[in-house]
């Protein structure tokens, strides 16, 4: 039954102008009246089960139901669901949504309704959190007129809140970092050589973290190096080209300390320890005193460095 999208304008319409009027009887009428008042009720059968929506007869036995109406829910549990990636004209929502059978708390049967689980693009796959067993509640319309549509749809129960978090600072990185960024703004990577251990520290701090002595001897390093270790990240980051992306420690050639950077230009699952990389710079006219001048490091067509040579840096 493919949908009729693309169908041309009809040349024949079957319609009851103004809609078809039906009487509802005492049981369905009570249900719809309660809905209009914002309540969900079921009816009790002679055997004690609570039917929602209520019917005049017990579907199991065919016996008349009792006259006892029971308020149920409004919260309930999803017993099964389907997912509409492309809503059709007559559907209650115009963006992807679920249909669900919902068993309201206190009821023995389930009610069919639409389930809105958030905003998704047309054609979206069902979200992973949409599951049988999910707890849901009705979203009532403000204007109700005694129809099943008085419930606009169901929506998941609240399981999380989102608290705004933002603090503002004005930071200065210190003199050594300022000098390093000055180099970066000219396309140079600068470091300091430690007078004691002779290792090159990049970016420099003005101190050797190993020997605790001040450093001043400036050294320019090439923009090539070796990945010593890395992580695959699955949470989006504005600096990364895509998800998943790779953040890595890179040991620049001639440096004695690794630098944290992004690695790109290669699928995440092909990045390796020992891989040779080179900085990918932004166009010169965009350079400023920021590490952002180097977008990331990209693979070099060179053999990997054996683990033994980088093992002290991992």
């Amino acid at each position: 039954m493919p949908s009729s999208t693309g169908r041309s304008e009809p040349n024949h319409v079957l319609e009851f102008p103004g809609g078809y009027t039906r009487s509802v009887g005492p049981v369905v009428g009570r249900f719809l009246s309660e809905l209009r008042d914002g309540r969900l009720v079921g009816v009790r059968t002679a055997e004690g089960r609570v039917l929602v929506p209520p019917s005049e007869h017990d579907p199991d036995t065919g016996e008349d139901v009792t006259g006892e109406f029971v308020e149920v829910g409004p919260a309930g549990t999803v017993t099964t669901w389907s997912w509409v990636p492309r809503p059709a004209k007559g559907h209650p929502l115009d963006r992807p949504f679920a249909w669900a059978l919902v068993r309201p708390d206190g009821a023995d049967t389930a009610l069919l309704h639409a389930l809105d689980v958030g905003v998704f693009e047309e054609g979206a796959k069902p979200p992973r959190f949409l599951k049988t067993g999910m707890r849901v509640r009705p979203r009532w319309r403000a204007e109700r007129n005694g129809g099943i549509g008085d419930i606009e749809c169901f929506q998941p129960e609240v399981t999380m809140v989102n608290a705004p978090t933002r603090l503002e600072y004005s930071l200065k990185g210190g003199k050594a970092l300022q000098r390093f960024l000055e180099g970066i703004s000219q396309g140079k990577i600068l470091g300091h050589r430690c007078p004691v251990c002779e290792q090159v520290i990049v970016p420099m701090k003005g101190l050797c973290p190993r020997d605790g002595v001040p450093t001043t001897e400036e050294v320019e390093l090439p923009d090539t190096g070796t990945v010593t270790t890395f992580a695959v990240n699955n949470i989006p980051d504005p600096r990364a080209p895509e998800v998943p992306f790779v953040s890595a420690y890179v040991l620049l050639d001639g440096a004695g300390l690794t630098m944290l950077t992004l690695v790109a230009g290669i699928p995440a699952d092909q990045v390796r320890m020992g891989m040779r990389v080179k900085a990918a710079w932004r166009p010169r006219e965009e350079w400023e005193p920021s590490m952002g001048n180097i977008k990331w490091f990209e693979p070099l067509d060179e053999p990997d460095v054996p683990f033994d040579e980088i093992k002290d840096y991992t």
Partner: protein, 347 residues
């Protein structure tokens, strides 16, 4: 059963996925002619049809279809607003009365001229279901989800049902010839487009005859040894969607055990799995839907009757001795009819 009744002739259209410009009666007339020629009968003791006015968008559309049968001198006639498998049931009951010995049954539908999904919404409870705008595929997908979760079956298993049905359908000159299932997009999840029976225009006709009349007109009649239909509550929220209790009981009453071929009116891949389980056909020895089933051609109001016709044809052509035809109606397999046929003549 006090009277032996058999399917003695079956004809169907070469079904079409698109409107071929034929009116319902123009689809129907050639196959009525075909079963008349096959049996040599010009008139029938009883005539019963299955059709749906909402498909045509016109009231009493079955009345104009009678022109294809010829109703003068006046004939004894009835109609069900259901798949014509239920018309066959009515004709079978009528033949049991014993005063007539032949009956014509036919069904027809052109799904191409409207939006079938929303047309089927009109069959739903008008208080709680129809106003929501829920369509037939969305309802079926609710049942598919429930079944997958209960049985541990996967979406790949559904795809395998569709693949097998389409492969068989490509060998059936009357079915639509559909390609291998492909693509990852859902129609209504968990159903993909190939899990949903195609929009089909078509018609089918069957002739029933009793006792010696059947033997006289048909070389190898397909005797109805059992036929039963059962219904469940309409509301999908009050029944166990993961099983078909109505199909199970109908199968038991009709004597489904031991058939060689089963033609199941499964309009969605998961329905075939639910029906196989309910009818005890999941052992793998029974050939299920060798015609390609409704997943390869689903002319509404005829597709259930075609299952019985296909099952009877396996007996007519001598390739099977005991076969089963099944038809369903209503949302989520609400109603199920099982007809068991045998080539063994005890007359």
């Amino acid at each position: 059963m006090t009277r032996e009744i058999a399917v003695i002739a079956f004809a169907q259209t070469r079904h079409s996925a698109e409107d071929e410009g034929l009116a319902e009666i123009e689809m129907l007339a050639p196959i009525i002619t075909e079963v008349k020629q096959k049996t040599g009968l010009k008139q029938f003791g009883f005539t019963c049809s299955g059709s749906c006015d909402y498909l045509a968008g016109a009231p009493f559309s079955f009345v104009s279809a009678l022109d294809a049968v010829g109703a003068w001198p006046p004939i004894s006639e009835s109609h069900v607003e259901m798949d014509a498998a239920w018309a066959l049931y009515e004709a079978w009951v009528r033949l049991l009365h014993g005063d007539i010995d032949t009956a014509l049954v036919y069904g027809f539908g052109k799904s191409s001229q409207g939006d079938l999904r929303t047309i089927l919404t009109q069959q739903l409870d008008p208080y709680h279901l129809a106003p929501l705008g829920i369509d037939a595929v969305s309802l079926a997908a609710l049942q598919a989800r429930a079944y997958l979760e209960r049985s541990g079956t996967t979406e790949d298993d559904l795809r395998a049902v569709a693949a097998r049905s389409r492969q068989a359908g490509r060998d059936n000159p009357f079915a639509l010839h559909l390609p291998e299932p492909e693509g990852d997009e859902y129609d209504v999840a968990p159903l993909r487009p190939y899990d949903v029976a195609p929009i089909t225009d078509g018609a089918a006709a069957i002739v029933l005859a009793s006792g010696d009349k059947a033997r006289e007109l048909c070389e190898r009649p397909a005797w109805i040894t059992g036929i039963d239909h059962r219904t469940e509550p309409h509301s999908p929220g009050v029944r166990d969607l993961t099983r078909s209790e109505s199909a199970r009981i109908a199968g038991e009453k009709a004597g489904a055990a031991g058939v060689e071929v089963a033609e199941l009116h499964a309009q969605f891949s998961h329905e075939e799995l639910i029906l196989k389980e309910a009818l005890g056909l999941d052992g793998g020895e029974v050939a299920v839907n060798p015609s390609g089933g409704a997943l390869s051609a689903n002319p509404m109001m005829a597709a259930g009757l075609i299952r019985i016709g296909e099952a009877a044809s396996r007996i007519h052509d001598g390739t099977a001795t005991r076969t089963l035809g099944h038809a369903s109606s209503g949302p989520c397999l609400q109603q199920n009819l099982v007809c068991v046929l045998s080539g063994e003549d005890h007359g």
